[in-house]
C-alpha cells in the first residue's frame, strides 16, 4: 500500500475517534500516570463500563505534561468536547462515569480542562491553564494525544510526512536545513546538530552509525522517557531522516537506540514502533520506495549514569566497560567501532521531522539568538505545578517558577533553582530573571543539561544539596581519571564534615581549589562539570557555608547534626500527637500536659515537627 492510502486510512480512523459515535476514555498511562495509580483505573474500567452498560473505547496515551495532576483521565462523549479530569482515583472515576456517561453531569469541579476544541459551561480550556499557557509543543507535539502503540495515530497527525519529504531532498539540503534551523543538541552539550551531521557525512568510513541517546539519568529528569513512551515514532522518524542525510550515497548506515533499562515502558513502546515502522516500509530495505536502506536496533543500558556520556555510551555499545575517552579525535570521525558516528539525544531527533515539515526558518524564528526553538524541561521540586513543560528558549527562570510552576508550594520563599542535572549549578534568586538559554546558563555557572529544573525553597540547605549531588556523582563516576574519581570522594568527605559542624573555612577553600582542578583536569563532561553544584553553592550561598562552619548552625534546619527539636512549654497543649508518631520514644508526656523531647535518643527525623498542629515543636 502506498503512503497516500496509509495516510488516508489513518486519518479516517483518527478523525472517527475525534468525532466518536461512542464515548472515548483516554487514560494517561505513561510511567508518571502509572505511578500515580493509572494502572488501577485501567484495571477497573472494563468492569465498571460493563456494569453501567456503556460501550466505550479506552485508549492509553502518553504523558501530556502536568504530572502533578496525574492520574489524568479524559472523557469524550459523542458530540461533546474531550474533558480532562485530574487526580482521578477509582471512586472519583466511578462517580464521573456514572454521572457523565449516564446522566450527562460532567462534574466541572473535578475537571482540569477541555483538551482541544469545544466548550462546556464551567470548564476552562486545558491549554489555558497557567502551567500550559506559555508552552509551545514541538518535541512533545503528540504526547498525550496519540496512542503510542498505533502508528496510524502518528501518521494521522502528520507523522512520516517529513520522511517522505526528506527522501526526495538532497542529503546536503537536509543538512543545510538543520544548520539554518539553529537546532542544538538537547542532551546537554548543545552542539549544533546540522554541523554534527555534516561532519559525520563528510567523514570516511565503511559504515555510518546513527545513535540515539535515551540513557537519561539526571535526578529529576524525565523528558526523554516521556517522549519515548508517548511518541516513539517521532524519534524514529528523526533518526531515519538523519541516517538518510548522513549516509545516502556515501556508505551504509545502521542505527542503535541506547535506552536505560530502568525505562521498560519506553523500551517496549520503541520496540513496537520499530516493528510497525518496518511493516509499513519506513524502516528496513528500500524505505518508502526510495532505494534507501536503514534499520535500528535497541540496546538497553546497564544502569551506569556515565553511559549517557557519548564516548562511554559507545564503549558500552561495543560491549566494553562504560568509560569515556578523550575526544581529540571526534566521534564523527571515529566513534562506535571506530566508524563515523552520529549521536543525538531523543529530544533532538523528535524535533527533526517538525523542522523538515515546517521549515528551518520557522524553527529559527523561535527562541533566542544562540538557542533556537523550544526545549522540554522537567520542572520539579518545591513548585506547585510540577511536570513536563515545553517552552520556547529564552523564557525567564522567573516565568518557569512562578507562572508555569505556579509559585512555591505551601507559600514558602523561593531560594534557588538547580538546572542541568546533578552536575549543573544552583542559580539564586538574584539571577532568576535571566533567560533560559544554553550560553546564559553557562555564564551563571550552571548549564542547560538535558533540561531538569529542580526548584528549592527556604527549607533547603545548600550544603546539603551540594552533598546530595556530590554523593550521586561519586557513585556514578566511572573511576577512569583521578580528579573525578578521587576528587568527588574527598569533596563528599569535606562536605559531610561541614554539614556536621566539624568543618573549617580552610575546608571551604580546599573545596574551591579542588573544584577548579576537577573542572579543568577531568577527562569527560561528567567530571568537568561535577564540581558545579559545590562551586555554585559556595559562590551564591557562601553565608550558608559560613553559618555551618563558624556558627555550627544550619540556617535551613536540614543538617541533622546541627539542629535540635524542643517543645515550647507555652504552646504545647499535650495533645500527645508527637508521642504517638515519634519512632524512638523520645517525645513523651502525659495527656493534656507538657511533652518533652529526650535529646539523647532523638534521631532528628522531624516527625514531631511535622505532626504537631499547635506549632509547639521548635526546630533550631
Amino acid at each position: 500500500m502506498d503512503f497516500k492510502n496509509i495516510q488516508a486510512e489513518s486519518k479516517a480512523q483518527y478523525e472517527k475517534r475525534l468525532n466518536p459515535d461512542k464515548p472515548v476514555i483516554y487514560v494517561g498511562a505513561a510511567t508518571c500516570g502509572m505511578a500515580a495509580g493509572a494502572g488501577e483505573l485501567l484495571k477497573m474500567l472494563p468492569d465498571t463500563l460493563k456494569t453501567l452498560n456503556v460501550d466505550a473505547e479506552v485508549i492509553k496515551v502518553g504523558c501530556i505534561g502536568p504530572c502533578c495532576f496525574e492520574p489524568l483521565v479524559d472523557i469524550q462523549k459523542p458530540g461533546k468536547p474531550r474533558i480532562s479530569y485530574q487526580s482521578v482515583n477509582p471512586r472519583k472515576l466511578k462517580t464521573i462515569l456514572e454521572d457523565y456517561l449516564l446522566k450527562d453531569n460532567p462534574h466541572p469541579e473535578l475537571a482540569l480542562g477541555i483538551v482541544g476544541d469545544g466548550k462546556l459551561d464551567g470548564i476552562p480550556l486545558f491549554f489555558d491553564h497557567q502551567m500550559l499557557k506559555k508552552q509551545m509543543r514541538v518535541a512533545l507535539r503528540n504526547c498525550g494525544f496519540i496512542d503510542p502503540n498505533r502508528i496510524e495515530d502518528y501518521i494521522a497527525r502528520g507523522g512520516y510526512t517529513a520522511l517522505e519529504k526528506a527522501l526526495k531532498m538532497k542529503p546536503e539540503d537536509i543538512i543545510e536545513s538543520m544548520k539554518r534551523s539553529g537546532l542544538r543538541g538537547r542532551g546537554g552539550g548543545g552542539f549544533a546538530t546540522g554541523k554534527k551531521w555534516d561532519s559525520v557525512r563528510k567523514a570516511e568510513g565503511k559504515i555510518k552509525y546513527i545513535l540515539c541517546n535515551g540513557d537519561e539519568g539526571d535526578p529529576g529528569a524525565f523528558m526523554d522517557r516521556s517522549t519515548m513512551e508517548g511518541d516513539p515514532h517521532s524519534i524514529l522518524e528523526g533518526m531515519i531522516i538523519a541516517a538518510y542525510a548522513i549516509s545516502k550515497g556515501k556508505s551504509p548506515a545502521q542505527g542503535f537506540f541506547y535506552v536505560r533499562n530502568e525505562y521498560p515502558l519506553a523500551v517496549a513502546n520503541l520496540l513496537i514502533a520499530m516493528d510497525q515502522a518496518r511493516k509499513t516500509g519506513f524502516l528496513g530495505k528500500n524505505i518508502m520506495g526510495s532505494g534507501f536502506d536503514f534499520d535500528v536496533q535497541i540496546n538497553r543500558g546497564g544502569g551506569a549514569f556515565v553511559c549517557g556520556e557519548s564516548s562511554a555510551l559507545m564503549r558500552s555499545l561495543e560491549g566494553r566497560p562504560g568509560e569515556p575517552r578523550a575526544k581529540y579525535i571526534h566521534a564523527s570521525d571515529k566513534g562506535l567501532w571506530d566508524q563515523p558516528t552520529n549521536l543525538n539525544n531523543v529530544e533532538t531527533y523528535a524535533c527533526v521531522p517538525e523542522i523538515i515539515n515546517r521549515g528551518p526558518d520557522w524553527f529559527a524564528g523561535i527562541g533566542t539568538k544562540g538557542s533556537k526553538g523550544t526545549k522540554v524541561f522537567s520542572l520539579v521540586g518545591k513548585v506547585k505545578n510540577s511536570g513536563l513543560v515545553e517552552v520556547p528558549m529564552g523564557v525567564t527562570l522567573r516565568d518557569m517558577v512562578f507562572t508555569v510552576g505556579g509559585g512555591i508550594k505551601n507559600d514558602k520563599k523561593f531560594k534557588a533553582i538547580q538546572t542541568g542535572g546533578p552536575s549543573g549549578g544552583v542559580i539564586p534568586e538574584k539571577l532568576i530573571d535571566m533567560p533560559v538559554d544554553f550560553d546564559e546558563l553557562v555564564k551563571a555557572g550552571s548549564m542547560m543539561g538535558s533540561g531538569a529544573m529542580i526548584v528549592m525553597d527556604e527549607t533547603d540547605c545548600m550544603v546539603d544539596i551540594a552533598l546530595y549531588y556530590v554523593k550521586f556523582l561519586e557513585e556514578e563516576s566511572c573511576g577512569k581519571c583521578v580528579p573525578c574519581r578521587e576528587g568527588l570522594r574527598r569533596m563528599k568527605d569535606i562536605l559531610t564534615k561541614i554539614s556536621e559542624g566539624k568543618g573549617s573555612m580552610d575546608d571551604v577553600t580546599t573545596l574551591e581549589e579542588l573544584g577548579r582542578a576537577m573542572a579543568i583536569g577531568s577527562l569527560c563532561g561528567l567530571g568537568q562539570s561535577a564540581p558545579a553544584p559545590v562551586l555554585s553553592t559556595i559562590t551564591y550561598f557562601r553565608e550558608e557555608y559560613e553559618a555551618h562552619v563558624k556558627e555550627k548552625r544550619c540556617p535551613a534546619g536540614v543538617c541533622t547534626s546541627l539542629i535540635t527539636f524542643t517543645i515550647d512549654p507555652k504552646t504545647c497543649n499535650g495533645c500527645h500527637l508527637c508521642e504517638i508518631h515519634c519512632p524512638t520514644g523520645s517525645a513523651k508526656g502525659e495527656k493534656k500536659k507538657l511533652h518533652t523531647i529526650k535529646q539523647d535518643i532523638c534521631i532528628k527525623c522531624g516527625i514531631c515537627f511535622d505532626v504537631c498542629n499547635q506549632d509547639a515543636v521548635i526546630k533550631k
Partner: protein
C-alpha cells in the same frame, strides 16, 4: 606524514602532524610527569599528570589537554608548566598520595611538586594500585592475552583477572608486574614455581644454563602463537 611547527614553552620545535604532544615535548626537553604512560602501550589519559595548556593564535582561548593523547597540528602553542597545569598536577598527586600513601615513587613525585603531606588523609585499603591501567593495556596490547581488566566503578574500581579469581588465560609472563609504576602487582618466584594474581605456574629450565626462567604455560602459548617448536623456545634470553 607532514611536518608541523609548534611552540612548546616558548621553543619552536618540529613534529610530525598528528604525533602525540607528550612525545614531542619530552623529545624537546620538557619535563612532563606521567603515571599511566608507557611508550609500548596505547595512551589512555587516566592519570591526568601530563596535562598541558594549549592555545592557537590568534583565537587565544586556552584549554587543558592530556598531552599523551593530543595530536599536534601546525601553529599549536603549548605551555607545559602553566598555573592551571600545575594546579591539576598538584591536585592529582595530592589525591593519589591520599589514596595510595605507600605507592612506590609517589611521595617523591609529590614532593617535587611541593606536597609533603596530603590534606585528604591517608587511606590504607587500596594498596599501591593507582588504577593507571598500564597492566591492563600491556596484557591486551603487548602480550595479546586480556587476562586483566577493570571491574566495578568509581572509587570501588579494581583491577585484576575476572571475578578476582585465578585467570584461565593468564600465561604468567609478568608483563603487568614489569609495567606497574607503583609496585602494586607482586610476582613471586621460588624454585620451579611462579605466583602472580593468585595463580601458580610451573617454570621451565633453560636448556643451556639450567635456571628456571619462564612459565611452561607461557612457552606453550608462545609456541602455539608463533608456530615455533616448544624445545626451541626453552633457551633463556641470556643464553641465546
Amino acid at each position: 606524514m607532514s611536518m608541523v611547527k609548534i611552540s612548546i614553552d616558548g621553543r619552536q620545535v618540529e613534529a610530525d602532524k598528528g604525533e602525540y604532544l607528550l612525545g614531542v615535548a619530552r623529545r624537546n626537553g620538557s619535563d612532563i610527569p606521567t603515571l599511566c604512560h608507557n611508550d609500548q602501550v596505547s595512551p589512555d589519559g587516566r592519570c591526568r599528570l601530563c596535562m598541558c595548556e594549549i592555545r592557537w593564535e590568534p583565537a587565544g582561548r586556552s584549554r587543558l589537554v592530556t598531552s599523551c593523547l593530543y595530536p599536534v597540528d601546525e601553529g599549536l602553542i603549548v605551555e607545559t608548566r602553566s598555573d592551571k597545569v600545575m594546579l591539576v598536577r598538584r591536585t592529582v598527586l595530592e589525591l593519589l598520595l591520599a589514596r595510595n600513601p605507600e605507592a612506590d615513587g609517589l611521595s617523591e613525585l609529590a614532593k617535587e611538586h611541593g606536597i609533603e603531606k596530603s590534606r585528604y588523609g591517608a587511606d590504607t585499603d587500596f594498596g599501591k594500585c593507582i588504577l593507571c591501567g598500564l597492566c591492563v593495556r600491556a596484557c591486551r596490547e603487548v602480550v595479546g592475552v586480556e587476562a586483566l581488566g577493570f571491574w566495578m566503578r568509581g572509587v570501588y574500581k579494581k583491577v585484576g583477572p575476572a571475578f578476582a579469581e585465578p585467570s584461565a588465560v593468564c600465561i604468567g609472563c609478568g608483563a603487568c608486574a614489569f609495567v606497574c609504576p607503583t609496585g602494586h602487582i607482586v610476582m613471586s618466584e621460588s624454585g620451579d614455581e611462579r605466583k602472580i594474581w593468585g595463580k601458580s605456574f610451573k617454570m621451565e629450565k633453560c636448556g643451556k644454563c639450567g635456571r628456571f626462567w619462564a612459565p611452561k604455560f607461557e612457552l606453550e602459548w608462545m609456541s602455539r602463537k608463533t608456530g615455533v617448536g616448544y624445545e626451541k623456545l626453552t633457551v633463556c634470553p641470556d643464553c641465546r
